[in-house]
Symmetry: C2
Subunit: 761 residues, 2 copies
């Protein structure tokens, strides 16, 4: 199904080669010709630039990697930088065009159509001759090594990566820093998160590139989420920008597997050195100019900045190998940013032989009431700290607030069964929550021992008898060694009781100490978990793990990730109303997010002591099931809160979470998104619109409907006086029959939205 | 069998308490009164001293730990040092006397007899009052926390440890450095290794304490083995010393499980600050005076120095917990250093319910010929590097030098079967040896895939048919995460084919990068392997793992360790002739060593291109089976070399490796050791003597033999003109019948020794 129909059409591209002086150059066009990629080797440095419809997107930018010195140099560890001294040995071009079907996704078919350009580059150098042998004078030794830079030019952007063939002169190396440059053509507006080695959960900042430095301090303090910031101009990917002349530009990466996650460090007028490492774990920037010979590029250039390991190094490589793809998406239509499949296409085809056990999932769970503070994950308050092997759980005093108890879980199972939800997440089911995070405690959980009030067999049997599954939860508290030690037995337990999905969590500092959430070793760990889970037919939804880069194409049992500021922050002081109008442009580029939408009672004080409130209307909450694409959709609010608004909850009952087609109707970053989606294997459509704090008027032409068919149309909209703060629960539900070509006009309230179901008659 | 018959006899000790000014003091005597331990709290600092027969052994020395600052301080991570401000709250004394039986050992019974003294110490401090509430003035908050220091006073030394009860004010903490002092009473002679975070394989240095600093540079270069030295006066434990007035003093530790291995840093006249961390991985010392307020003790004081993790910290602790025991052994008779069971006694009783599957083992193996360089562990020379998942091993070109091939292994199995050896070690049986160490390669081995020329089923079947077992080999190349990921399947493979023992290896730098061989996390790993192996009834012999501290009492499937300079160095340039007369005083204190003795053809050039030669006579090689106690004894030389000296090899066939009794007849560190041992469950005795480069005349009174019995006595001795360099293979074998009271006189050649078997008629 996802067989790779790779066909080489030979050189079909317009290739212009200048063999003059030190410059070789090639221009590669995208299939429709809108994007032009230029590549040259200029004074020995690989250099690329990129344009869209004649407009500069990336100005000439250098590519290369700095390598680290290592004590094993004499034993074959290569140390020479891969930055300069290159000559262009060979150029290859080809075209690729295939259509593949994802196991789950926004569309049934995905076209992967690009023109490819591969530059083979070599470095040569001489070292002193071996010691003279008698009267024979030996020649200096000539060394030569080769790397490839592979570009794929799509109609909606480019991807490039470094490839390191196996060869005697490049065998093992340590990366001090990757220096891929992205020179922007102007002072674009950007939606950015402070670059951070350990969190992605800050509020998005909106500013000109030139304002990033001045806005960083406030950005770090905002919501108090930053953990390990490394530079006054460091930002995260996916980075969405908009140029003054109306280009939408997005920088991210694809297929980041056994490699450190990339950040971007902006060179601006004040930059005098690039940061190279973080001293300690504080939020201090530590530019270290003496540690690098890196020559600063021009202002408005982003330079890649990888996440380090505990020793400050960015990666250990063994050839043959390659980096992830670095991606630059571009369009003059914001909707193209959302419909692009460039990241998925740059990933490898599905690696699993059997995917029949993977399914999109709607779920509810024992979760929100603890997040809000009305219940606890932990079972007892008897101990200042616990050691798992020293407690008889049947003898400790329950605290009375533990929510993962039989009675409460059954209530959720009943709710799921009644409303057609597939699974019920239960957090806090297993022993260890009494002191689980941030105390450098390695042996935190065993992932197999339930608290005494959670009867794992009874509850799974009960759920199965009602056609519902329980959804497992493995909070690792970032003690990855502990998780890897227990994982096989934990998965066996899941198989035994009939769980088929796990939500994992990585709250707190990484153990082993000194490592970071997005380092090479941690990225290897996250994928290791996904691969091991696949052997047990288990789907994985990893929270606090590294931001996704499309690996779900290759491992479609990776059905979700958090990796951004999710709904939980609505209980931690709240997120801005435009937050969900930004995420699809940024976080969602790499893969679906388990955003856990669906908060109906937005003022949490209505049912708890929590003064926080969600900055969204109820109709807006419904919209998220469409605008925030995911094969995994939670109905996050309490069953009793949904029961109060059962007519609105009907939409959550109805909405699909897997699609044959998706059409983005309207989009502007941080302002509004409107999308129509066709439910998989049906003729039914669903339309959702979500807007920022300013409201939005949406006009929806139903020209995507099947001609000749009629549809029962139900519109869940903000009431006239609805407002995310003043009147969030004011909504209207209207029903009519519509056909192709009809037009719907919906007004979205400030912080509001709408949802429409179109059921074929 | 090892049930702890703990009886408290109340206060049976001479306790003198001075309740005056700031001094509390107690004196605790050993059961025979020879050792006196004094403990005081002097100006708030816990202080101990120790004497033996009225002679000062440890002058007043402070105890305490410095804690690290941590970003989680506000969440319950304790940061206040445990160094000063203590008051003595409570003192408890008791006596303990039991006799227990080890699963294997030098004697059938071990007496554990000590007087115990426990000091309960508390710190109090006040913090600012909470914010005033209206007109009510709140009091400053009073804080109090408690630690215990537990001393056990034996007739042959003392042990003490810190204990941290669970309590609100001491819950989690990070150790910046343990500051246990050992103030020596004079400028003793010491046998020391340079303190090193990653190796214990240097040659032992012999010098006065005052000469350690000046001799360190040479020591580091010697044999080129040092890896991560941290101080110009840092040395390893077990540290053997001898005072000018004839006291033998040894400092080591016991029961180091989930805690960093201790080194000792000597304060001398030139010390101006204690080192606190190693910058980078170079052999540079980095004293960091600003990082510590530690007040320097007097010269000739050793201060504990723990092995750091990748961030430079020494440990993460959660109460209730305790440190390992710190031990000071002392006697005026060197033989007591060797017969002492203090380290074993300070460990916990056996934790395994069933030990029936654990057995002493004599083995040979496919090993020495690779160490010497006449064969290879790896199978092919086709690749500059390999990736396990990318090679079809059946298609690669064999290099022809791979020694773990069916034919060669069968030859060793035949040899073992013919000569009554229990097992055959095979190194290089599994894929991955082509590029296995020091390249920061994580996925080095899978521990389950044999090379094509190693038929794992056939060879195990063949061995079993001859009454022999194969001995598994797991070289991890220190990629511990990789080993832990594969370990369970590797042990399952062993169970499947009938292996019951594994030799593990930790060559090269630890992965994850930045960690060290003797850190808390690595010590946890080594023990994790032993515990997991026990579940599969597998015995473990770990090479390059941390030096043992008696944990084999608790986990007797830990049948051996290398953790010092073994026989392999005889092929790497050689070790000094006195090396094996030092190891029993130092390395062997914590547990048996897999020294792999038995080299008969000491000039390796006789059968290989290796110019190295072992500095030992053939008779000396036989002696090692007795003087280097281990339940695991290898006959390391090639079968064909043994066949040339079959009359001498008879001793290796005959000698036991488990004992009902052991009597050290003569001993002087670095000079000579003579021991008589009674084979377990028999009336047979074996006597061995080993000496340094000066030779030794041994007079052995056979008064340990059963009166009335006669014994066939075979004496394997150096010939008159034997010499470790000039004439190593000159030996004599003489036979006679002896009885109790007879006297044997044996002359040991320079670098020589002797072995005697006494078989009851």
């Amino acid at each position: 199904m996802r067989k790779n129909n790779y066909k080489r059409f030979g050189v079909v591209l317009l290739c212009i080669m200048h063999y003059a002086l030190c410059i070789n150059a090639a221009s590669v066009l995208s299939p429709n010709g809108n994007i032009v990629l230029n590549f040259t080797v200029e004074n020995g440095r690989p250099t690329y630039s990129m344009s869209y419809k004649g407009k500069e997107v990336v100005r000439p930018s250098h590519l290369g990697l700095e390598l680290a010195k290592d004590k094993h140099a004499s034993m074959g560890m290569d140390e020479r930088d891969l930055m300069s001294g290159f000559s262009l040995d060979k150029e290859e071009t080809s075209t690729f065009d295939e259509t593949w079907q994802p196991v789950w996704g926004e569309t049934r078919d995905i076209r992967n159509h690009y023109n490819e350009y591969v530059a083979t580059l070599s470095q040569q150098w001489r070292t002193a001759p071996p010691k003279a042998n008698g009267n024979i004078r030996l020649q200096p030794r000539l060394h030569r090594r080769t790397i490839l830079i592979r570009f794929r030019v799509y109609d909606d952007g480019i991807g490039f990566r470094y490839e390191f063939p196996q060869q005697p002169e490049l065998n093992y190396f340590l990366i001090k820093e990757e220096r891929s440059e992205f020179a922007m053509a102007g002072d674009h507006k950007a939606w950015w998160l402070p670059g951070d080695y350990d969190t992605q959960e800050q509020e998005t900042q909106e500013s000109k590139l030139s304002e990033i430095r001045s806005q960083m301090k406030e950005a770090i303090n905002w919501g108090n989420s930053s953990v390990a910031v490394f530079s006054p101009t460091g930002v995260q990917t996916s980075l969405q920008m908009k140029s003054d002349d109306g280009l939408y530009i997005n920088i991210h990466e694809a297929a980041c597997a056994d490699y450190a996650t990339m950040h971007l460090e902006l060179v601006d007028d004040e930059t005098d050195a690039m940061t190279t490492k973080l001293e300690g774990n504080s939020n201090a920037y530590t530019p270290n100019p003496t540690a690098s010979n890196y020559e600063l590029p021009q202002p408005f250039t982003f330079v890649s900045h990888l996440t380090p390991d505990a020793t400050g190094l960015k990666g250990a490589m063994q050839t043959p190998c390659e980096t992830p793809w670095r991606t630059v998406m571009v369009s003059d239509d914001a909707r193209d940013m959302l419909s692009s499949n460039l990241i998925l296409n740059l990933n490898e085809p599905c690696a699993l032989d059997d995917t029949s056990w993977i399914h999109p999932t709607k779920y509810c769970g024992v979760w929100w009431e603890m997040i809000v503070g009305r219940g606890s994950w932990h079972y007892t308050n008897d101990f200042p700290s616990i050691q798992l092997d020293k407690i008889d759980w049947n003898k400790v005093k329950p605290n009375g607030t533990h929510k993962a108890n039989n009675e409460n879980v059954k209530r959720y199972i009943d709710f799921a069964a009644k409303n057609g939800l597939d699974e019920v997440l239960v957090e806090g089911w297993n022993v260890g929550w009494e002191d689980w995070a941030n105390m450098w405690k390695r042996d935190v959980f065993d992932f197999v021992t339930p608290y005494p009030d959670f009867d794992i067999k009874m509850l799974n049997d009960y759920a199965h008898s009602k056609g519902v599954k329980l959804l497992m939860h493995h909070e690792t508290s970032s003690s990855t060694q502990n998780y890897e030690r227990h994982m096989e037995k934990a998965f066996q337990l899941m198989n035994k009781y009939g769980y088929d999905a796990v939500k994992t969590g990585y709250v707190g500092d990484i153990i082993p100490r000194g490592d970071h959430h997005y380092s090479q070793s941690m990225n290897n760990h996250y994928l290791y978990v996904v691969k091991e889970a696949a052997k047990h037919h288990i789907m994985v939804n990893a929270h606090e793990a590294t931001r996704p880069t499309g690996l779900c194409r290759t491992y479609p049992n990776m059905v979700g990730n958090e990796s951004a500021r999710g709904t939980e922050y609505e209980a931690f002081g709240g997120s801005r109303p435009d937050h969900t109008c930004i995420l699809p442009f940024t976080r969602l580029q790499g893969g679906p997010m388990d955003y856990t939408p669906g908060i109906f009672v937005t003022k949490l004080s209505e049912w708890s002591d929590n003064p926080s409130w969600a900055r969204i209307t109820l109709a807006g909450s419904l919209a998220l099931y469409l605008t925030m694409y995911s094969p995994l959709q939670m109905a996050a609010d309490l069953p009793e809160n949904y029961e109060k608004f059962d007519d609105a909850f009907q939409f959550i009952r109805d909405v699909a979470c897997d699609w044959d087609n998706s059409i983005y109707l309207e989009a502007e970053p941080a302002d509004y998104i409107t999308v129509a989606r066709k439910a998989k294997g049906t003729d039914n459509w669903f339309v959702g619109g979500k807007c920022d704090e300013n409201g939005h008027k949406s006009t929806i032409k139903l020209d995507f409907l099947d001609k000749g068919k009629k549809y029962d149309c139900t519109i869940y909209a903000d009431a006239k006086d609805a407002h995310y703060e003043k009147n969030p629960q004011a909504y209207t539900i209207t029903k009519r029959v519509v056909k192709a070509g009809d037009v719907l006009k919906v007004t979205e309230a400030p912080g509001g939205g709408f949802a429409v179901s179109l059921i074929a008659k």
